[in-house]
């Protein structure tokens, strides 16, 4: 779900690494959802993301061991793998790192994380790792889950059966972690260069499972505790009971709609007051800076350019935080995997996969983490199709644009119009993604079988503190990634509008500002593209804002504010005065620029257009070529222009000005 935006966003990752010779690397390896990332946090004290959705660690995180553990080693948390033969790009990432093919050396020791509530499946992988010759220690997790079934595991017996150290650990409390590190340290050393194993034949797999079953039987025993014991191979009874409801043909769908409804209600309603407060705060700050030296170029640059630009970014941060937190809650509780199961069938009909669900849902926050999460989709065609339609998901950067245009369109006596229109916009986003995916999957023939095999982890009470920390880190890296270009661009745009300086010559302030803009570099640039804007009923000033929005969509609002030069009245928020200015804005012939028709046209444009440079860069990287972002830009921006033109002229023909 959700991958981090940066490969190593944890705090441990920021510590200065010790000199290279002294550094040893330990790799954490295990099946998806084996408790690796929780153990990683216990080992490093780092707040890397931990999640209860298989495949959450899409890029590995690197941290350094806690000092109290007494070993200067780095720890690499690899994406979960099912076997040593990779089936998806995230598994390939893990194996390249394990076998020293990545840009850092092969680990000097591996901690194989084994969930003892499903010992046979996890030992199957652990034994493959041990067989490669890499020094391996086994960490047994989830012993509480096994305990609930009335069993306990005998680490000693397991140790002699596997021929390597075995330590029972609890990543949440940290129990067993010092012993695990001490034993891993004792055996770490130069491994003979490990080789990737060949894919096992069916008979070899069956034989290997027969062996681990024997080990499982000898190493688990009935615990001394009251109550009946269930068989060791039984899954968690509580989880099964919940799943009969949450995967039920009727109740499962009801639950799905309720969960999604709660998530999006939270995103829109809970965030509102915080967003208003942030917006007002930045306006006050910008006004007071300009007020310090009203005639100073620098004060205006900082106040109107930089601070209002930063405000445009931070205003929609609450929505992103809530979306990330909601996703974290769903991941950590285990529900996200169920949601993927529920939508697999409908998604398969349009050429996607249940595993596309998490990337697409992340796309409602930002397409970038969504595209990275697509690495967990094994089938190449399904993965590329998911990446292709991701820019159509209505990301949070579009929200400020919609908020502004809907505020302009919504009559004051009918406030519900805006809410309804926003719901329609989200529906249009999902519908367009569906239609495009269906069309592309009809056009491009399928190669290779499509599969959906997903482990549904046992339900657990979500660890709120960990989710809160991961939300913080994901939001922070999101800001770092999106914030800097936005700041730079809004500053550059302000400069374009105010250079070269046009002397005021004693004219009144408003007229001097108008002249300044007419003579600015931005105006020259904008007039050049006027012919493209005219069919949409818009002028060059909106055109410049749209060009700026191609670098990042949310810039559109700040850019309109700068170009139409919104001088905030004393107690008005920027949005209020921007709305008033938009209502006053006229074409050269005196007709208003922002009408119902042109505003709806703009909204339609933003629904479809591929406008984000960072997304284009990530699309190129994940698809392995520029063809992906180029195809997206041509298809979606062309679609956007056509649809916006039809909206504007359709509305005009229908008599809506």
């Amino acid at each position: 779900m959700h991958p981090d935006l940066s490969p190593a966003a944890g705090e441990g990752a920021e510590a200065v690494p010790p000199p290279r010779q002294a550094t040893r690397a330990i790799a954490l390896l295990g099946q998806p959802n084996s408790g690796k990332t929780t153990l990683f946090n216990a080992l490093t004290g780092s707040h890397s993301r931990t999640a209860n959705y298989p495949g959450a660690t899409v890029e590995f995180s690197i941290g350094t061991l806690r000092e109290s553990l007494g070993w200067a080693a780095t720890v690499v948390d690899l994406p979960g793998i099912a076997s040593l033969v990779p089936r998806s790009p995230d598994e390939e990432v893990a194996l390249r790192s394990l076998f020293g093919e990545a840009d850092h050396p092969a680990p000097s020791a591996v901690i194989a994380v084994v969930d003892c509530s499903q010992l046979s499946r996890h030992l199957y992988l652990a034994r493959q790792v041990i067989a490669t010759g890499i020094p391996t220690a086994v960490a047994l997790t989830m012993s509480d889950l096994l305990g609930r079934r009335g069993y306990e595991v005998d680490a000693r017996k397991l140790e002699s059966a596997l021929g390597c150290p075995v330590v029972v650990v609890d990543g949440r409390s940290g129990a067993g972690v010092p012993e695990l590190v001490a034993r891993a340290k004792a055996m770490a050393g130069a491994a003979t260069l490990p080789r990737r194993p060949q894919e096992a034949t069916a008979d070899e797999v069956k034989a290997a499972y027969r062996e681990v079953e024997l080990i499982e039987r000898s190493a688990t025993r009935l615990a001394m505790r009251p109550g009946p014991a269930t068989a060791t191979h039984d899954s968690d009874p509580t989880t099964r009971a919940i799943d009969t409801v949450l995967l039920h043909p009727v109740w499962g769908l009801v639950g799905f709609v309720l969960v999604m409804g709660a998530l999006f209600t939270g995103v829109f309603w809970l965030a509102r007051p915080v967003m208003d407060a942030i917006s007002a705060g930045f306006d006050t700050l910008a006004d007071s800076i300009v007020g310090l030296a009203p005639s100073s170029f620098l004060a205006k640059l900082i106040g109107d350019g930089v601070i209002r630009g930063a405000g445009a970014v931070l205003t929609f941060l609450p929505q992103i935080v809530i979306l990330f937190f909601g996703l974290g809650l769903m991941e950590d509780s285990g529900y996200l995997a169920r949601a993927a199961v529920l939508v697999d069938r409908p998604l398969a009909l349009i050429g996607l996969n249940g595993r596309s669900f998490v990337p697409l849902l992340s796309g409602f926050a930002c397409a970038i983490p969504g595209m990275m999460a697509a690495r967990t989709i094994p089938n190449r065609r399904e993965r590329l199709l998911t990446i292709f339609i991701l820019p159509l998901m209505s990301c949070s950067a579009r929200l400020p644009v919609y908020a502004l245009l809907l505020a302009f369109l919504t009559p004051p006596d009918r406030p519900w119009v805006g809410g309804l229109a926003l719901a329609a916009i989200y529906l249009a986003s999902v519908a367009s993604g569906t239609v495009v995916a269906a069309l592309v999957s009809r056009l491009v023939r399928a190669k290779g079988p499509s599969a959906f095999m997903l482990e549904l982890p046992a339900y657990r009470r979500p660890q709120l503190a960990i989710i809160a920390r991961s939300t913080y880190h994901r939001s922070r890296s999101y800001l770092a990634k999106a914030g800097v270009p936005i700041l730079v661009l809004s500053t550059a745009l302000w400069l374009l509008c105010n250079l070269p300086p046009v002397p005021a010559n004693g004219l009144p302030a408003a007229e001097a500002q108008a002249r300044q803009l007419e003579g600015s570099a931005a105006a020259r640039l904008g007039r050049w593209m006027e012919p493209v804007m005219q069919p949409l009923g818009l002028d060059w000033r909106v055109g410049v804002s749209l060009i700026a929005a191609f670098t990042a969509r949310e810039i559109f609002v700040g850019s309109l504010a700068i170009i139409f030069h919104v001088a905030g009245e004393d107690d008005d928020s920027v949005q209020q005065s921007l709305l008033a200015t938009m209502a006053r804005a006229r074409h050269a012939d005196g007709t208003p620029i922002f009408t119902v028709a042109t505003s709806v046209g703009l909204i339609v444009f933003f629904i479809f257009a591929m406008q984000c440079l960072s997304t284009a860069a990530v699309a190129r990287r994940e698809a392995g070529g520029w063809w992906m972002p180029i195809a997206q830009t041509l298809a979606f921006t062309g679609l956007a222009y056509g649809a916006a033109w039809m909206a504007v002229h359709g509305l005009r023909a229908a008599g809506v000005a």
Partner: protein, 80 residues
């Protein structure tokens, strides 16, 4: 297809939620087969159908201490 003829090669795609039984064999295209075997769907294993999603696809099976969801197409490779 009539039920009698099918009983000989009944698969995990043919069972109702609540079913408990044993895997007899895994057959089908090699890639799906080897993936199912690696996940632990091996002959002799106890398996149960926990739930079926809407349209009876995918199916959630209890196996080796955990729950694994498979599409019907994949479940059809597992003979019981």
């Amino acid at each position: 297809m009539d039920r009698k003829a099918r009983s000989q090669d009944k698969t995990l795609a043919d069972v109702e939620p609540g079913f408990r039984g044993q895997i007899r064999d895994v057959q089908g295209d090699s890639s799906t087969c080897s993936q199912l075997l690696e996940m632990g769907f091996t002959p002799g294993q106890a398996v149960a159908l926990v739930a079926a999603a809407p349209f009876r696809d995918p199916l959630a099976f209890s196996l080796r201490g955990t729950i694994i969801a498979l599409r019907r197409r994949e479940a059809r490779c597992i003979l019981i």
